[in-house]
């Protein structure tokens, strides 16, 4: 599959939005892959975190949307503390999540969570999860 890269994709509103919300410069990433190498959740991800930031650099919003990566991220910040270039990838992930969440799209359907689960889980898990995964 060929992708289209142009001035429009590189400097698109999407790229600007990601950079504004995350307060990160995407192009600082030089694709060493250390974030992916240390990501605790990437065994469950379609695309590696380093691939997500590469797609974001190129402005390929749809490819990011198709991947589950940003919703599997547990915001543990391991990527950010180890990034040699000081890119706070956890914040980039959050920005990408928010771009979807702010369209009122939820990743967790709260009414569908079984009562036993709610009884079992500590508040910190539920509030944390809802904040990261719902609008």
């Amino acid at each position: 599959m060929r992708i289209e890269i142009s001035t429009e994709t590189l400097y698109s509103d999407f790229v600007k939005k990601v950079e504004a919300i995350s307060e990160q410069t995407l192009i600082s990433c030089y694709q060493c892959g250390k974030c992916s190498a240390g990501c605790p959740m990437c065994f469950a991800m379609d695309l590696l975190p380093s691939q997500i930031i590469r797609l974001a650099q190129l402005g390929l919003e749809d490819d990011i949307a198709k991947a589950n990566t940003i919703w599997i991220c547990a915001s543990c910040i391991t990527c950010s503390v180890r990034c040699p270039k000081g890119v706070d990838l956890a914040r980039v992930m959050e920005a990408l999540r928010l771009i979807t969440s702010r369209k009122n799209i939820d990743q967790v359907q709260i009414p569908e969570i079984p009562k036993e689960t709610i009884a079992q889980l500590p508040q910190v898990a539920m509030v944390g999860g809802f904040r990261k995964l719902t609008a």
Partner: protein
């Protein structure tokens, strides 16, 4: 001496064992933990977005509560509360414009001016009391108990709020050594357990938990010690299922550092609320003769 203390939601419910043992142990060390009046939920997870001051209201409001008591320091026990309060505090103190916005929005409150320090209880133990003093006060040394300190994420990351070295923390190691335990270092000590993904991807969290527990067990740990109630729930609750998928796995107790502190200081084991732990640690502690009345 007394110290303002922010419990947070989970310590009042699922993690009562952390709170009760902490209050008792600190009292034994001469520090009265005084619960912050009218505290509210901190928001649990810090918002990373650069354009979401709204999410900083909850933590900042708690800091205002500290000011109202005339204090300038607040301690947390829950790692998530620590992280959220500490980061929100850092954000507003390093960003006067955001502080102004938040103050304006909460016009019913007194202005926050960044004049409250947020600390975790482990820091209080290290910096206010000191390992030597703690070691001197130990009545029941945890001799022979092989414990693996598990730090998780929120005490250490990001770098700016870390209570210790981001990659090689020793603060919990040092505490447990002062209590006389056999401290087991293991490579997953700072690895994420999967965190809030428990609500949407519990299977992935199980995989993470198995990696963490088995790593600690390979290094011969009898129990894991932590400070975070979310890690505790993940590491504890998941074990039933893991015992089914891994037939050789017999479970490993997870304890709050506050529980071991209270035990070692010779307090009544009842105060530790060990019956609330997801995996009963009493047989292990009894076998090491640590449950003296």
């Amino acid at each position: 001496m007394s110290l303002s203390y922010y419990p947070g939601c989970t310590l009042k419910t699922k993690a009562k064992n952390a709170e009760d043992s902490a209050i008792a142990a600190m009292a034994a060390l001469g520090i009265e933990l005084v619960e912050l009046p009218r505290w509210n939920c901190c928001g649990t997870v810090y918002s990373f977005a650069g354009d979401e001051e709204l999410h900083q209201l909850a933590p900042v409001r708690n800091l205002i509560r500290v000011k109202e008591t005339g204090g300038d320091r607040v301690a947390t026990i829950c790692s998530f509360c620590y992280n959220t309060l500490k980061r929100a505090n850092l954000l507003v103190t390093s960003n006067p414009e955001k502080m102004h916005t938040i103050n304006t929005f909460m016009e019913e409150e007194i202005d926050y001016e960044g004049d409250v320090e947020v600390v975790h209880l482990l820091e209080v133990l290290r910096d206010d009391i000191g390992w030597e003093t703690i070691a001197e006060k130990v009545q029941v040394p945890l001799t022979g108990l092989k414990v693996a300190p598990y730090y998780g994420c929120t005490l250490l990351r990001p770098q700016e709020i870390a209570i210790d070295d981001v990659e090689r923390p020793t603060i919990m190691h040092d505490l447990l050594k002062a209590l006389g335990a056999d401290v087991v270092d293991f490579p997953y000590a700072t690895e994420c357990c999967g965190s809030y993904q428990i609500i949407s991807n519990p299977d992935y969290v199980s995989q993470r938990v198995w990696d963490i527990l088995s790593s600690a067990m390979r290094r011969k740990a009898d129990a894991i010690v932590l400070s975070c109630p979310l890690c505790d729930a993940n590491l504890g609750q998941t074990q039933k299922e893991l015992m089914q998928t891994h037939s050789e796995f017999k479970g490993i107790p997870i304890l709050y550092f506050t529980q071991l502190l209270a035990l070692a200081l010779g307090l009544d084991p009842e105060i530790c609320r060990l019956e609330l732990n997801y995996v009963d640690p009493r047989p292990l502690l009894e076998s090491k003769e640590l449950l003296r009345q």
